[in-house]
């Protein structure tokens, strides 16, 4: 624990105001319980996610850069984005602005037209919610604050794809021992283990869930998710911990769809890592938004004495 990231700018992104609201609620609740200060970016905009990036990636770079310029104007050096899509896009914007003159030109041109600060690479660091808690509190700090251990809870940690890929936009990963790994990420494992959980060795922690094609090619997504779920069960997991609203919603939706379309029922539960950490810190399931999840984890939560 370095004490870094005690006060950071918070970029929730669109998903956390909609389907991922439980992640928003639980991230804020965990931050509060840990004494970490989050200040939401004023007048933030979409990071450019799928829609804009698919059509014009340089416009997406501008949209993400505008959020970084807001953080800069608010006096922050760090912005925390819990959504993998937002985190990935802000990191990609940072990379593009550093390495691509055409991206810098488009960014400066639109920022000039709209009359706000032109963001320049290197001014603001983007971190994920996992970096935030790992660095600001650390495993030892977390252990000291646990009131309701996750002992006996077997967890498969699912990181999805955008947290680690493509590797070149995450220069801080795969560095010194202890840094995050792009091939075998472990920050979520580390934090949940500190809260008492038993992490299972889950071989598909960064495997594709077909997320971006969930509506256009639903059967492929459902089959990929079904394999993620059945593999977690084969590993002995009670719950899959997630750290991305797109992954989380995809797993929940396709768990239901797999039963309806393919007649394959799975019983592994799906919870955000912040919900698990929150309950370990003594927060009620309601306080961390378990009631807002699509899948019902109440039996498991009661059985493990978490609420």
């Amino acid at each position: 624990m370095s004490g870094k990231y005690k006060k950071v700018a918070y970029y929730p992104g669109c998903a956390l105001e909609g389907t991922g609201h439980a992640y928003n609620r639980s991230t804020k609740a965990v931050g509060k319980a840990l004494g970490l200060e989050l200040t939401e970016l004023k007048n933030w905009n979409c990071c450019g996610a799928m829609e804009v990036k698919n059509v014009d990636p340089k416009l997406q770079t501008y949209l993400s850069a505008r959020n970084l310029s807001i953080a800069q104007d608010m006096g922050f050096e760090t912005v925390m984005a819990p959504c993998n899509g937002c985190y990935h896009n802000l990191k990609k914007a940072e990379y593009d602005l550093e390495h691509d003159a055409a991206s810098r030109e488009v960014n400066a041109r639109i920022a000039g037209k709209t009359g706000h600060t032109t963001y320049e690479a290197g001014k603001v660091e983007t971190i994920h919610a996992l970096d935030w808690i790992k660095e600001a509190i650390g495993e030892d700090g977390l252990k000291a604050r646990v009131k309701n251990s996750l002992k006996g809870l077997k967890v498969a940690n699912y990181y999805g794809c955008m947290y680690t890929r493509p590797r070149h936009i995450f220069p801080e990963k795969d560095q010194a021992p202890g840094s995050e790994s792009t091939s075998k990420p472990h920050f979520m494992d580390d934090l949940l283990a500190a809260a008492g959980a038993e992490n299972v060795d889950y071989p598909l922690k960064t495997a594709c869930c077909g997320g971006a094609h969930t509506l256009s090619d639903s059967d492929t997504s459902t089959k990929l998710v079904l394999n993620l779920l059945t593999t977690a069960e084969a590993c002995g997991a009670d719950v899959i911990a997630t750290e991305c609203p797109t992954c989380h919603t995809g797993l929940e939706m396709h768990q239901v769809r797999a039963e309806k379309v393919f007649g394959r029922k799975t019983s592994v539960k799906i919870l955000y890592f912040t919900q698990l950490l929150g309950m370990a810190l003594g927060l009620s399931p309601r306080k961390v938004g378990v009631h807002e999840n699509m899948s019902d984890s109440s039996d498991l939560i009661r059985a493990k004495g978490l609420g």
Partner: protein, 154 residues
Amino acid sequence: MTDVRTMSLDDIAARIDAVAAEADDVLRARATERADELLRLGEGILETWLAARDETPTDREVEGFRLLALHRQGARGTPSFNACRETCRELVYYHNLIRLDPTHPDTARRLRLAAMVTRHLALFIGGKLEVAGLGEFCCSARPLRQREAGAEAV
């Protein structure tokens, strides 16, 4: 030993399911044979992808495994193919784990997990053969529709 060169992706998927469904004592008795077979099935899956791109699958190895060389070949020019890089590496890991100690009490479970990893590879490649853009947006941060949209929007 299964000859994957004559198998379709559906045949391979069916064989993976059959291995995963085998009884523990069968898996334990044929541990190394099954571990090798799953690796070969994985290679067959990647060969299907390369064949669909009119490429001749390589016989070279990376880190001692043809599977990893095939993955590297498949990813050339298609960064989204890296969405299955870790899946391939996990399959190699389980192969090594089982070969290292085939009499380990956990061998049957390890083989089943290896089968599930191989199945994920088959599902991903199957999905990619249907929709080539699978993994483009997320894993390679590449736009899917820029060409359709034409000139830059701004």
